[in-house]
């Protein structure tokens, strides 16, 4: 069984020729939008789908725009929040840049990369920009006793991760990860365009071969 919630967020374009001052880099990531969504349903649990969206200013490219997204994902099992028998099974995070309407989206960088098993601290650093511009956005987080798989593909322009909860402790408590990605799209000067869809799926398990998935999707549009 699958339950899906949708939210549309329209953000306003911000960058406008930021001046270079002091020791600042040639370009900077400027916040465009930020939001939080908690999608809970008894007795299964809840999914948190938060994000920070950034646009690259002074990107050195008059044909394309660059965006970065930091995605805060978490699952809270029903056994913790509702005192039920449902536990965390698997989480999935999708940055669907191909769903954008700017035209010619190109997934550029994403993180974390590869397969990561066990409790450990992970550094994520993503960049964007053309023509020698390389501007960094980075952060760190610690994953619990899970295995995360990187399913991203520049062929589909989608960054995607799966996290499987391994231990009993991780299945029965809040767990999540903070992935991110950058992409470039065709530049526009007016109108409203979809940047990407940001999806979070949380699959819960009740120990009786029954699964339930809660999904939340942010449809993020940009108004010039």
């Amino acid at each position: 069984m699958r339950m899906i919630g949708y939210d549309v967020n329209i953000v306003n374009s911000q960058p406008g020729g930021t001046e270079q001052t002091g020791t600042l880099a040639l370009s900077e990531w400027v916040p465009l939008g930020r939001n939080t969504a908690d999608y809970y349903l008894s007795p299964y649990g809840g999914v948190t789908n938060n994000y920070e969206l950034w646009q690259l200013s002074s990107d050195g490219d008059n044909t394309r725009d660059w965006f970065a997204i930091k995605h805060i994902f978490a699952m809270e099992p029903g056994c913790q929040v509702y005192n039920s028998s449902w536990t965390n099974k698997k989480g999935t995070m999708l940055h669907d840049w191909a769903a954008g309407t700017f035209g010619s989206p190109e997934l550029y960088e994403w993180g974390p990369l590869g397969t990561i098993s066990g409790t450990q601290t992970i550094d994520v650093s993503i960049t964007g920009g053309t023509g020698g511009v390389s501007t960094t956005l980075s952060w760190s987080y610690t994953q619990p006793e899970v295995t995360t798989y990187d399913r991203s593909s520049t062929a589909t322009e989608k960054a995607k991760w799966e996290m499987n909860f391994n231990s009993d402790a991780s299945k029965r408590s809040t767990g999540g990860m903070i992935p991110g990605s950058t992409a470039s799209v065709v530049q526009h000067s007016s109108g409203t365009y979809r940047i990407l869809n940001l999806q979070a799926d949380g699959q819960f398990y009740n120990g009786l071969l029954t699964y339930h998935t809660l999904s939340h999707v942010w449809n993020i549009d940009l108004l010039y």
Partner: protein, 241 residues
Amino acid sequence: MSEDPSPKKKRPLIVLAVSIVFAAGALSTLLLIYEPPSTAVSIRQNIHGLPLSEVWAVLEEQSGVENATAALGRLRLVAADDGSLELLYMEFYGDDEDGQHLWCRVRVSPLGVVTWDSQTIDKVAAGDHPLLLLSEIERIPYRELIGENVGVIVDVDANAGDLEYYARYKPLFALHQGEVTPLERVAFSTDEPFYNIALFCRRGSVSDGYTTEETTHCCTLFTLHDLAKAEIVENRSAEAA
């Protein structure tokens, strides 16, 4: 990205019931029980006057983290329209007395039950001492910033890199000892993580048994400690503010 796949669990999940007598300004003891009796929970939890510094004193003592090594990872506070605390979630790092790196997660439920666990990890995330943030966050003037009778979420996390914040996106403030100063622009270009304190106004809804939370980002605050890491800090003129 660190690679040790086999950290050892330091201790099992422990459920604590915290009874803190804030009115008297003193902390009572932590009770090691699995099901807290209703009489054991006497936290006065309201985001207006939430004594995070005192909560930290308890956590620091109980977690075994050496105070000097402690660093805040993330913090999330969720409060209802009347300011009552619905959730406190915090992650912090530090070394124990044997020098082992610990990752600690703390969750406080609406009933005041504190659930926390700690695990040894190979590497801690860089960051500042929790008290640097908590002592400022506990004094955020919420009514001044978002008005009365509005549910609020406070999200605190750290970024690094080449980042620039403008008040034209969302209002920016410097936060110092309970007072906020409007800012026009803050720009960072650093590998050192800095914390941003984001305030969200809540729009909750319940439909067919589903509880969903939709929120609006209201403003971003920085402590003076983090503003000192910025390349550019521009105050906002009185007319613009």
